[in-house]
């Protein structure tokens, strides 16, 4: 898919672990893993909002468009 999820980079920048983020956002670690690996088909605005709030960033910091 041409949308890349840069969640790993943001987690590393903030020094946060996946478990912690999953707990703060209110999703399971399995779902967070799906998101990180790019297997997710869609992301809810509420989830995106929660991730941005937890990582103190903008949606563009997490999502990136790359041409195939």
């Amino acid at each position: 898919m041409s949308i890349i999820v840069n969640l790993d980079i943001m987690l590393a920048k903030r020094g946060m672990k996946s478990n912690e983020l999953a707990e703060r956002v209110g999703i399971t670690t399995a779902n967070l893993s799906i998101l990180k690996t790019g297997k997710a088909k869609a992301i809810r605005f509420s989830t995106l909002e929660a991730i941005c709030k937890a990582l103190e960033c903008q949606p563009s910091d997490i999502l990136e468009y790359v041409e195939d």
């Binding site: 999703i27 779902n31 967070l32 799906i34 998101l35 297997k39 997710a40 088909k41 869609a42 992301i43 809810r44 989830t47």
Partner: protein, 169 residues
């Protein structure tokens, strides 16, 4: 889910009481019609005074009817197998979609072949050209087969929707 238990029980009952004994009986009948052609009267109401075709033709028709019966039993077996997936709460399993398509394809085939066999048999063995325009078992089989094929397509769409829903975070 109680309805599923009832359905599975009814299907199991039919399978044990009708289908399993039918398999050896049909096999025996297949051999018997070639040993004693009088047994063909069970299947076809033949008017021997106008029968011009050799008896082997009638035997081939009987053989085709037996093959259709076997295919119908196989369809019932597939349906029974599919119900097991429903019991395991896996309604969108690939096998369910494949089984529904296979059942539909086979039942439609059986319906069309049975209709053609009926018309040709009437023509050859009774000297009559008869086409039933009302609700006949063959027509119902074709409808049932097409319904199963549509159901297979619907399950395919539902599976994709479920997958998409599962992968929405």
């Amino acid at each position: 889910m109680r309805k599923l238990v009832v359905l599975k029980s009814v299907v199991d009952f039919i399978w044990i009481v009708t289908c399993i004994p039918a398999i050896p009986l049909l096999l025996f009948f297949t051999v018997f019609i070639f040993i004693n052609p009088d047994a063909l009267d069970i299947l076809f109401d033949i008017d021997y005074s106008i029968l011009k075709t050799p008896i082997i033709t009638v035997q081939v028709f009987a053989l085709l009817s037996v093959i259709l019966a076997f295919i119908s039993i196989y369809c019932f077996y597939l349906f029974r197998k599919t119900l097991r997936y429903f019991q395991k709460v896996k309604p969108f399993h690939d096998q369910v979609i494949q089984n529904f398509y296979k059942i539909g394809y086979l039942l439609s085939g059986v319906g069309v072949t049975a209709s053609v066999l009926f018309v040709v048999a009437q023509l050859l063995f009774k000297g009559q050209f008869k086409i039933h325009l009302g609700i006949t078992p063959s027509l119902m089989l074709i409808c049932l087969g097409l319904f199963f094929m549509v159901l297979s397509e619907v399950f395919k769409v539902a599976k994709n929707a479920k997958q998409e829903n599962d992968l929405t975070i």
